[in-house]
């Protein structure tokens, strides 16, 4: 009998997405409906299911595997979803986004992300990738009246589907080597080749899969879509996709490259090391020149992809520190970046996106609480203690040093220092510049609760990281 346990969290989120869509369909014109609440219920249910499934290593249909690694990512995605829902209620109304589509697509996107983290088969990873990508493409273009939004969506779509084709070609070559798309069988086929030069098909498979993943995590040289898509999308969607897509893509990246493709580590580590180094440098250097906050955070997100890649590279069969550091970093990045972009989204109106650097002038005078919280998130993005960003970077660089990747650790530390400059530019703008007297919109209590939650998480992960880090270590132990 087929076991359905492993897909329960995914199904719950999918059902709540469908419920959101139906709720919008039955809504009378002008009637207010708390659709975000439906999403919150679904996400809470999925989180609860993930907690109950912990340590069970359930499998469904032989292709979905809910091991602790997938469940940890599920929990990160639930946090991302809950925060997004808390911020959305106000923003969707104010920016006049179509509510039903917005909530349904966000939830379907989360559903695809969860599937991607849990998939144990390259074909399912591809399908999950498409589910989440198609949702996010449409979300990016949701402001139909805005030309920038449509343009961003199309660029994202074009480069995204282009990279999916590369990923799929990689899957085809993996299929050619092993006669299966299952990760374990690909691993068996590759280990059976033994030492020496691997066959061309295997190298092609690794290369093409790496290109596909690099696009999705926005690593250089496949990062071109990131700033445009992040700037053109509605800010709340930017917050959602910068964190969610990254978490899901890195989950699958780690799972594919560190279990079935581990025999080829000698081949892919040098290439990915170079990619990681260039990604960190370019993301930071170009980020310094930006005056639009969303673009700046897009380049910061590229730099963060570089740090995460270090975690992916710094692993050996006996030492899983890098993988645990990646999980911890993804959680940290999720709460921090969602908080920062959430504030930008909450301050925006239909007329003024509030995403230029000068829009933040004098925020401390008019909104001291928001300015304070924004400072916390920006310092955490820059990696200053006692915030979560510091601990996350610390573990990544420790793992790199343990595995002998000294250069990557040095580049990482240097770029972190430089990146503090452009985060502090926003802080200086908020505190030390006189603002124009443009009225800023009211921030409702639910959104403030979300921001409080994110801030609490930033400090909790920054001051008492041991518990979560132990969980991360335990969760990677089960699969690799």
């Amino acid at each position: 009998m087929t076991d359905y346990a492993a897909i329960i969290p995914i199904v719950i989120v999918a059902l709540s997405g469908t419920a959101a869509m139906l709720a919008e369909a039955f809504r009378q014109p002008g009637e207010r409906m708390p659709i975000a609440g439906l999403g919150l219920i679904g996400l809470a249910g999925a989180a609860l299911a993930s907690v109950f499934l912990w340590d069970s290593d359930a499998r469904s249909f032989g292709v979905i595997r809910s091991d602790n690694f997938a469940l940890f990512i599920n929990l990160i995605l639930c946090v991302i979803g809950v925060l997004t829902m808390l911020f959305s209620n106000e923003v969707v109304e104010r920016e006049q986004l179509p509510a039903g589509e917005y909530y349904a697509l966000t939830l379907y996107g989360i559903c695809g992300m969860m599937m991607m983290a849990a998939a144990d088969d390259l074909l399912i990873i591809f399908l999950a990738l498409e589910v989440l990508s198609l949702s996010v493409y449409v979300l990016t273009g949701l402001r139909r009246a805005s030309e920038a939004s449509a343009e961003a969506a199309f660029k994202y779509f074009l480069l995204g589907s282009f990279s999916s084709a590369f990923f799929l070609y990689g899957v085809a070559f993996a299929f050619a080597i092993s006669g299966s798309t299952r990760l374990d069988q690909i691993g068996v086929a590759l280990s059976a080749q033994g030492a020496g030069t691997p066959p061309t098909l295997a190298l092609l498979a690794v290369g093409l899969l790496a290109v596909g993943f690099a696009f999705k995590v926005s690593a250089v040289p496949f990062h071109m879509w990131t700033p445009d898509a992040y700037e053109g999308a509605p800010t709340i969607v930017t917050a959602f996709m910068s964190t969610g897509v990254k978490a899901a893509a890195f989950a699958a990246f780690v799972r594919v490259f560190l279990s079935p493709l581990e025999p080829l580590q000698a081949q892919w580590v040098p290439i990915l090391s170079a990619v990681a180094g260039v990604t960190m440098i370019l993301g930071t250097v170009v980020g310094v020149a930006q005056t639009n906050i969303k673009r700046m955070l897009a380049y910061s997100s590229i730099a963060h992809a570089g740090y995460l890649l270090i975690g992916l590279i710094s692993n050996s069969p006996t030492n899983g520190a890098g993988k645990a550091a990646v999980l911890f970093y993804l959680l940290t990045y999720a709460v921090t970046n969602l908080g920062a972009l959430g504030i930008v989204a909450l301050l925006g109106t239909l007329q003024n996106q509030h995403d230029e650097l000068r829009d933040f002038a004098g925020l401390w005078k008019s909104r001291p609480v928001l300015a304070g919280l924004m400072t916390v998130f920006l310092l955490s993005l820059g990696g200053l203690p006692p915030t979560a960003g510091f601990i996350a970077k610390w573990y990544i660089f420790t793992a790199a040093v343990q595995e002998g990747h000294y250069w990557l650790a040095i580049i990482g530390v240097l770029t972190s220092v430089v990146s503090v400059f452009f985060y502090l530019r926003i802080v200086v703008m908020m505190y030390m510049t006189e603002g124009t007297e443009t009225p800023r919109p009211r921030v409702p209590a639910t959104a403030m609760a979300g921001l409080a939650l994110a801030t609490a998480a930033v400090f909790y992960l920054g001051v008492l990281p041991t518990r979560i880090l132990d969980l991360a270590l335990a969760s990677i132990a089960t699969i690799f």
């Binding site: 074909l123 498409e130 343009e151 779509f157 589907s161 050619a176």
Partner: protein, 100 residues
């Protein structure tokens, strides 16, 4: 029977044609069609390898890929229409609201 290598080379050529089309063509619809060519080149690989290995897996995977390609085309064409409403052109050079 035609050897597997011929199929792999043919699909490699088709994939390269699709890739170059994405970069060289100056019409958004044609660029999308080039991506379809890339996906179908991959389909050819799956079918050829499946046949070579004597399993039906490759052909079944192709159905999944075709479904995904259809969904992608639907979203892509909708986005093209959204773009066309703003600028009345399909040339990628016209879209400069964001730094490219």
């Amino acid at each position: 029977m035609v050897p597997l290598n011929y199929y792999l080379i043919l699909s490699g050529i088709l994939f390269a044609i699709g890739t170059s089309g994405v970069f060289l063509r100056r019409n958004l619809i044609t660029v999308m069609l080039s991506i379809e060519i890339m996906l179908n080149a991959v389909n050819l690989t799956f079918v050829a390898v499946g046949r070579y290995l004597g399993t039906v897996d490759g052909q079944i995977i192709t159905f999944f890929v075709m479904t995904v390609a259809a969904a992608e085309a639907a979203v892509g064409l909708a986005l093209v229409i959204a773009l066309f409403r703003h600028r009345e052109t399909l040339s990628p050079d016209a879209f400069t609201a964001l730094k490219w």
